[in-house]
């Protein structure tokens, strides 16, 4: 669709009027601008595009919010930089408590499918999702990206079930006691009580530190794709895409469609690995077709971006191939190293993880905690088709005592094999974990450099002695990096999944 045909609305960023396409997020409206200043005074801009890194926290009409999770609205006043302490605007009090029988967390393919499979039981079902609209990362919609037919079909079907309530823009921020969670939207907070739950919390990108990775203009690969779908204008921009995994090609395709000039797609895996991956793709025709449509002329296996340069924002990257290093001038670098399951909430709720760090589930998709189910990427990276099958099994089993229908189980086994293939072929090469030097920041919230971690022999010591992982994202970015770089196992938090408004925590009342 022609960008110029999209209706726009006007917001204000730091007092300056900005026209943004209707339906875009504030992160997209920021364009090439910074969202905040780091602890050591560096400008920062949106990085993950999906509510994980907290680099894009800004003040929206006086309330601190993540720009990448907040839709633009006419007349909004955005302030970048430091937030002040201030009381909440009044008049938006939510009922302090909500109850449901089945709580589904996440409205991506797995969550929507789980809710739909559970709906005929008549159970009161609530689906919470922190994005502005349902669909998850893969079916993310925005001003120039309508949700695909499959997603719309599920939403239409769900709408026919009056016992299903879907709440967008609602984040689960922490535990509220037994079978209860703290939930907040931009303006309200409440306690959500439930009898059973299906966790469909998806995945996030593995982002690894390298010199220059904190420059505005550097995002995740999936991060760039998410931002483009949110309405980010990349027309005419030179973009390098780097890292590892099938997501790179998807990001490249999104960037090209949005009018960017994709200079290179640097895949760390060797040609041989990529070829072995492609050679067996025929077993999953949908994926083979997808790969064919995504193929990019700039695709370079065995290549890596080892550094980014720029004064105040990205101006070039150093691309390393077998032929040596060279500088590539560009406005954006999108760099991701595959996906990791989002398991923080599950860990808080006591669910065991498997050897790969995903939520462990049985054949009924039940976790180690009775009554808690999990489906989709949070149980292992395996794509949309696998997530949908798992969601159907979880929704069915959560509302029935029967075993999962055999046809679903067989289908799942097929897609589990695909998941294993992706994991094996795009395994992280050691070189990717050696890009950072002593001065490279590992923790972007507290600006802790790799050198400061040298004397630490574990995650807890690093936190206590250097403040690594002690900032707003609570170690989600640097904890994953420390795991890859140092082999440390970050400890899960005690109550909160991430920053939560004091008012939300305070709203919890004793159980009646």
């Amino acid at each position: 669709m022609n960008a110029r045909a999209t209706p726009t609305l006007r917001i204000e960023i730091d007092g300056r009027p900005v026209d943004a396409p209707r339906g875009s997020t504030i992160a997209a409206a920021l364009g090439l601008g910074a969202s905040r200043t780091s602890v050591s005074g560096q400008p920062r801009a949106p990085l993950c595009g999906m509510g994980v890194c907290h680099e894009c926290r800004v003040q929206v009409d006086g309330i601190q919010q993540l720009a990448c999770m907040t839709p633009c609205r006419e007349g909004q006043a955005i302030r970048t930089g430091d937030a002040r302490l201030q009381a909440l605007p009044t008049g938006d009090a939510a009922p302090p408590e909500q109850r449901c029988d089945l709580l589904v967390i996440g409205a991506g393919p797995a969550g929507l499918q789980a809710a739909l499979a559970a709906a005929p039981s008549g159970a009161r079902i609530t689906v919470l999702d922190d994005n502005p609209a349902p669909g998850g990362q893969i079916w993310r919609s925005g001003p120039r990206h309508r949700a695909p037919g499959a997603c719309q079909g599920l939403l239409d079907e769900l709408a026919r079930h009056p016992n299903v309530v879907l709440v967008s823009g609602a984040s689960v921020v922490g535990l509220a006691g037994d079978r209860a969670l703290l939930v907040e939207t931009a303006r309200q907070g409440w306690t959500q009580r439930f009898a059973q739950a299906v966790l469909c919390t998806g995945a996030r990108e593995r982002l690894l530190p390298f010199p220059g990775w904190t420059l505005p203009g550097v995002t995740g690969a999936g991060g760039l794709q998410a931002l483009i779908k949110q309405g980010l204008d990349v027309r005419g921009q030179r973009i390098v895409i780097a890292g590892s995994g099938p997501l790179l090609l998807a990001a490249a395709a999104s960037a090209r469609r949005a009018g960017a000039r994709v200079m290179h797609v640097a895949e760390q895996a060797a040609w041989a690995e990529v070829a072995r991956f492609a050679a067996v793709l025929w077993r999953w025709p949908a994926k083979a077709w997808q790969a064919a449509t995504l193929f990019d002329p700039g695709f370079r296996p065995g290549a890596m971006v080892v550094a980014a340069q720029g004064g105040g924002r990205l101006q070039s990257v150093t691309l390393r191939t077998a032929g040596g290093d060279r500088q590539v001038p560009c406005e954006r670098l999108a760099c991701g190293w595959g996906l990791v399951p989002r398991t923080r909430l599950a860990q808080l709720m006591g669910c065991a993880l498997d050897a790969q760090g995903a939520i462990a589930v049985d054949a009924r998709q039940q976790t180690s905690v009775a009554g808690l189910y999990a489906a989709g990427e949070c149980t292992g990276i395996g794509g949309n088709e696998r997530a949908r099958l798992q969601g159907r099994i979880a929704g069915y089993c959560a509302t029935s005592t029967a075993e999962a229908p055999p046809a679903l189980a067989r289908g799942l086994a097929h897609w589990n094999r695909f998941a294993t293939l992706v994991q094996d072929r795009f395994a992280l090469r050691e070189a990717a974990t050696r890009l950072a030097d002593a001065t490279t920041l590992v923790c972007r919230c507290e600006d802790v450099a790799l050198g400061a971690l040298e004397d630490c022999d574990g995650w807890v010591q690093a936190k206590l002695q250097t403040r690594c992982g002690m900032g707003a994202c609570q170690g989600r970015i640097c904890g994953t990096a420390a795991q890859a770089l140092r082999g440390w196992t970050p400890t899960p938090p005690r109550q909160l999944t991430g920053p939560a408004r004091i008012a939300t925590l305070a709203a919890l009342t004793e159980r009646q």
């Binding site: 002040r84 002695q465 900032g471 707003a472 005690r494 920053p499 004091i502 925590l505 305070a506």
Partner: protein, 366 residues
């Protein structure tokens, strides 16, 4: 190698004792299953405590010693001379503040009564309607884990650390541990609540506390703000209680306490109690409502029946010494505790009267 003193527990009290003993020329080994500095529930508030003369003597001597340490503390120790303002909600609490001021003055500690307008000028973010506040400018705050690292590095060659769990203290003074049997001339038990596991006759019990810390904000709170009801809550002997205690960290974060729970010995966060604490905190500081908490946690204070720590030799077990039971004030009182232990162990005359802290007061039947 056999050290002069083996210290079980490498928290702030153990580290301060190691430092004081090493300063007297002794060699010391600390043993702890966790990292040195794994202080759980401390706020790092250095405050004068005046509920009884012994507490006042221990805390004011400690504050003086903290001031001696201060020039050597690096930026990472996060010393802030923020002072404390004790908030008086009404006339009764204002009268309490006046009495407190008199007690402090008698001990040579300056404080200043701020009436309602003066309090509002000093801390504009506070709610309106408070009767006033008592400002104690000499109080301060630190980041204790880094202070521990600093203490352990002050006397190179004289302080060693063994990362192991002590499992038993033998009659001959040796200590059984996950790293084998360790020998020393003297053993000092400074393991907080864990001390009772190694020396069951110690009458220590847990008082569970919760803390909440916010994201960074431009400094809008300038003093550590404590409800005058805090001391009443601190000395309450049963039930769950909440007393607002808000500390501005040099990072711009606000550290929010405090809760007290009895008969609970796990460190799980109780969301309902955190909520109660934060409702009270929001009442004191309304702008907190829109701030973001980034972490909540809980820890166990090692409490004694009379509210005073156990400092000194074990009355029945030769070669065993105790420095435990500091409740929520171990960071404040670690330096004077260490000074006392070092003097007693070396046969020197202590600066403080040791009698009120002697372990035998609680070990009559041991």
């Amino acid at each position: 190698m056999t050290e002069d003193v083996l210290i079980v527990g490498a928290g702030i009290v153990g580290a301060a004792c190691a430092d004081a003993l090493a300063a007297r020329g002794l060699t010391v080994r600390l043993i702890d299953a966790r990292l040195p500095a794994a202080t759980d529930a401390g706020m790092g508030h250095l405050l004068i405590l005046d509920d009884n003369p012994a507490e006042l003597a221990l805390s004011s001597r400690s504050l003086a010693l903290w001031r001696q340490w201060r020039p050597g503390l690096g930026a990472a120790c996060a010393w802030t001379g923020c002072g404390t303002i004790w908030l008086a909600a009404n006339g009764d609490e204002a009268a309490l503040a006046m009495r407190k001021q008199a007690t402090l003055a008698a001990a040579g500690i300056a404080s200043e009564w701020l009436d309602a307008p003066a309090l509002a000028r000093a801390e504009p973010a506070l709610r309106t309607g408070l009767a006033g506040g008592l400002r104690v400018p000499s109080d301060a705050a630190v980041y204790a884990p880094r202070v521990v690292s600093w203490l352990l590095a002050r006397h190179p060659g004289r302080i060693a650390f063994t990362p192991a769990r002590a499992t038993r203290i033998h009659a001959d003074g040796s200590v059984e541990s996950s790293a084998g049997r360790l020998h020393a001339a003297q053993v000092l038990l400074a393991a907080g609540l864990g001390s009772a596991a190694l020396c069951p006759e110690l009458p220590l019990f847990p008082k569970k506390g919760h803390l909440v810390i916010t994201d960074r904000y431009p400094q809008q709170v300038h003093h550590q703000l404590v409800e005058l009801g805090y001391m009443a809550s601190a000395h309450q002997a049963e039930g769950d209680s909440v007393a607002v205690n808000i500390q501005p960290r040099p990072t711009g974060q606000l550290l929010i306490g405090s809760t007290r729970q009895f008969g609970v010995d796990d460190t799980r966060v109780d969301p309902a109690l955190v909520a109660r604490l934060l409702r009270a905190a929001m009442q004191t500081l309304p702008d907190l409502a829109g701030a973001r908490a980034i972490r909540t946690w809980a820890g166990l204070r090692p409490a004694t029946a009379d509210g005073l720590p156990l400092i000194g030799p074990h009355p029945k077990r030769p070669r065993l010494w105790i420095a435990a039971g500091h409740e929520g004030h171990g960071v404040t009182t670690a330096p004077a505790t260490a000074e006392l232990i070092a003097a007693l162990m070396c046969g020197a005359t202590p600066t403080l009267d040791a009698a009120p802290f002697r372990p035998e007061r609680c070990l009559a039947h041991a």
